[in-house]
């Protein structure tokens, strides 16, 4: 089962962010950047699957998943898409700027539970960002897992995240990497088509597989369907859900999805628990 955050009553209020300095800001795509952050105050160490609330001074906060392996020193890596005032401000920071961070919040990818079996990771669009720590973990603990498949989809080739890393992973002999895009122009020689089409051809044993699926909700639903068709048990498929979030503490009520609070019971959920809820319109 995904793990829950430890109970804490901090003397410092849980709505007060820790200052972090931007060490670097690197572009990933035309609207996405990856920030490398260093702690100036208390370090925050999110586990794979967890998220932090990132604060752009005077503007606001957004929940962003960790994209790095956990660093005891508290360095953080966050990949952010600039879609609103807060994310635009964060994506416009320069090295040396200070932002605020609260966290870590949420449940984690079931990397312990997946040991001893195959691991299939399916990421759509910016979904590769929250699941990259799971790939890192599997690569550094390679013997804990059987086959490792990383299947990635994006809108167009220029929307692919972490292209250099995808190429590195593909270059290894112990990782299968599949990439597809919705459409392509010019020089793309890779696959064009929807992500679920990558699944039947991937080399994994469905009966002994844990699948981690992240992306837009529809993409996760179609991907889960394709995985089920291959025989992956429903309770071994994990998805990462999203809702409007204001506090991360279980106090503001916004992130409800039926009986769940995403900040507390998620964002990582088992598909058998989530399937029925995902099928209810406007829930």
């Amino acid at each position: 089962m995904a793990t829950a955050p430890a109970a804490e009553t901090a003397p410092r209020g849980a709505m007060a962010p820790e200052p972090y300095r931007v060490a670097s800001r690197a572009p990933e795509t035309v609207d996405t950047w990856t920030l490398l952050l260093e702690p100036l105050g208390a370090p925050i160490v999110p586990a794979p699957g967890q998220f932090n609330m990132l604060y752009a001074f005077g503007v606001g906060e957004v929940p962003i998943s960790t994209s790095a392996a956990p660093e005891p020193g508290g360095e953080l890596v966050h990949t952010i898409r600039a879609v609103g005032p807060v994310t635009q401000k964060l994506c416009a920071t320069e090295p040396g700027d200070v932002i605020g961070v609260r966290g870590p919040f949420g449940t984690t990818w079931p990397l312990e539970e997946a040991r001893g079996g195959d691991l299939v990771i399916v990421a759509g669009g910016i979904g590769l960002a929250p699941v990259r720590p799971a790939v890192y973990h599997a690569l550094t603990h390679r013997d804990d897992y059987g086959s490792l498949c990383v299947l990635v989809g994006a809108r167009t080739p220029s929307d692919l995240l972490y292209v250099r890393e995808l190429e590195d992973w593909r270059g290894r002999f112990d990782v299968e990497v599949g990439v597809t895009v919705d459409s392509a122009v010019g020089d793309w020689h890779g696959r064009v088509g929807v992500v679920p089409r990558l699944i039947p051809g991937a080399a994994f044993d469905p009966a002994a597989t844990t699948a981690l699926v992240v992306g837009p909700e529809i993409m996760m639903t179609f991907t889960a369907k394709a995985l089920l068709e291959q025989g992956v048990p429903k309770e071994r498929i994990y998805v990462s859900m999203e809702r409007n979030m204001r506090c991360g503490l279980g106090h503001c009520g916004h992130c409800q999805l039926g009986p769940m609070l995403i900040c507390r019971d998620g964002p990582v959920f088992r598909y058998d628990e989530m399937e029925a809820l995902m099928g209810v319109r406007e829930l």
Binding site: H254, P259, E282
Partner: protein
């Protein structure tokens, strides 16, 4: 919090109107900001009071779906009404509160100064049993989860609660159906039951050590067995005078299996999504965060304000609202209040105070909606499912 004494052992006394005056004075002398019911612009609201003279003596509320008005009683009861549009969350979870101020230092790092708690702790005078349960419901959310809400804890920890057991329930009350009243059992410092038969007096029971101390300062008389019986009769009769009833059996499962019930579209057609119900509900706790730049350079503040699941942008992510329809928003509120609240916090979210029924401009009645869903358990709204 504070030590609570068993009911049978609890110190009790009978106090008269002078004693009630003394109570307000004693609490103020002990440094409390006393909040009590008072009449303002056609409603009984909770404001700071300096004397028991400010209580709405001789007034009662007439409440029905979409209707609220004050009427004169034929006695001078100080607490002869149920609950008005406000609840104690006005003070424990204020509508707008600053959480912290931040200032940038040289080198860019910022320093956070968190807002201190109010200068004076609150003494809440006139807490009805339903509202007492509502406070406990919000305690679960803000104090007993993985994180403690600092502002709520600061206001709640020192608060002195004076319960008033109900003698005059209202047209929309259904605490008896929810098991939340009309008599408060525990969780208070003092409980008063107003006795109007014969001499106008109050049975006062202590529910904690500091409640007993305050009681001791009031110079009351020993409570006679007759007074105790009279007090029990008040609430016993009140339980039979509820304006509404609700079959609250297994609501969580009922709502869980009827998520596509046609009644939600039906209610959604009537619902204005005005959010009144969430404003007046004593357990609704949803808030939003406002981060603001202050005019001064390099300074910022974070504020917290009430929010409502009825607003469209409440559920906004990535370029769209998850719940654009009023059907979906009504369903969210009703199923959360009576159903998924249990999954999230271990209790029902409803205490049967009836405010949502009274203050809904179109008179939507949760007891009626739930009864309709139960009566047609299993029906599916195929057009919207």
């Amino acid at each position: 919090m504070h030590e609570e004494l068993a009911l049978t052992d609890s110190p009790r006394a009978t106090i008269d109107l002078d004693g009630l005056h003394a109570l307000v004075g004693v609490l103020r002398d002990r440094g409390y900001c006393v909040i009590g019911p008072t009449k303002r612009e056609g409603a009984i609201v909770y404001e700071e009071i300096e004397s028991a003279d400010e209580l709405p003596a001789g007034w009662t509320e007439v409440q029905e779906a979409g209707t609220y008005r004050l009427e004169r009683r034929d006695d001078e009861a100080r607490f002869g009404y149920p609950v008005g549009p406000q609840s104690w969350k006005r003070y424990l979870l204020p509508a707008r509160v600053r959480l912290w101020q931040a200032r940038k230092r040289n080198g860019g790092a910022f320093e956070i100064v968190e807002e201190p708690p109010p200068e004076r702790p609150f003494a809440l005078l006139g807490v009805r049993s339903c509202d007492l349960h509502a406070i406990a419901v919000q305690d679960r959310v803000f104090l007993e989860g993985a994180y403690v809400d600092r502002d709520y804890a600061g206001r709640r920890e020192g608060a002195f609660l004076v319960v008033v057991n109900c003698g005059t329930p209202g047209g929309t009350c259904f605490c008896a159906s929810m098991g939340t009243g009309p008599r408060a059992e525990s969780g208070y410092d003092l409980a008063l039951t107003e006795l109007l038969d014969g001499e106008h007096r109050f049975l006062a029971e202590a529910g904690s050590e500091r409640g007993a101390e305050v009681l001791g300062d009031l110079m009351g008389c020993d409570a006679t067995p007759d007074d105790v019986d009279a007090a029990l009769r008040v609430t016993h009769e009140a339980a039979g005078k509820m304006g509404r009833t609700l079959d609250s059996f297994d609501l969580r499962d009922l709502l869980g299996r009827n998520v596509n019930h046609p009644r939600f579209a039906d209610a959604g057609n009537r619902c204005l999504t005005c959010g009144n119900c969430t404003l007046v509900c004593p357990t609704c706790f949803c808030t939003s965060v406002e981060d603001v730049n202050v005019l001064e350079d390099g300074a910022a503040e974070r504020w917290r304000r009430w929010d409502s699941c009825y607003s469209v942008d409440y559920s906004f992510i990535h370029g769209g609202a998850i719940r654009p329809s009023s059907r979906a928003r009504y369903r969210q509120w009703l199923t959360h209040k009576f159903g998924t609240w249990v999954d999230q916090f271990g209790t029902s979210g409803c205490v049967g105070c009836g405010r949502c029924i009274t203050w809904c401009p179109v008179g939507i009645d949760v007891t009626e909606e739930l009864a309709a869903i139960r009566a047609a358990d299993g029906e599916v709204d195929h057009a919207n499912a």
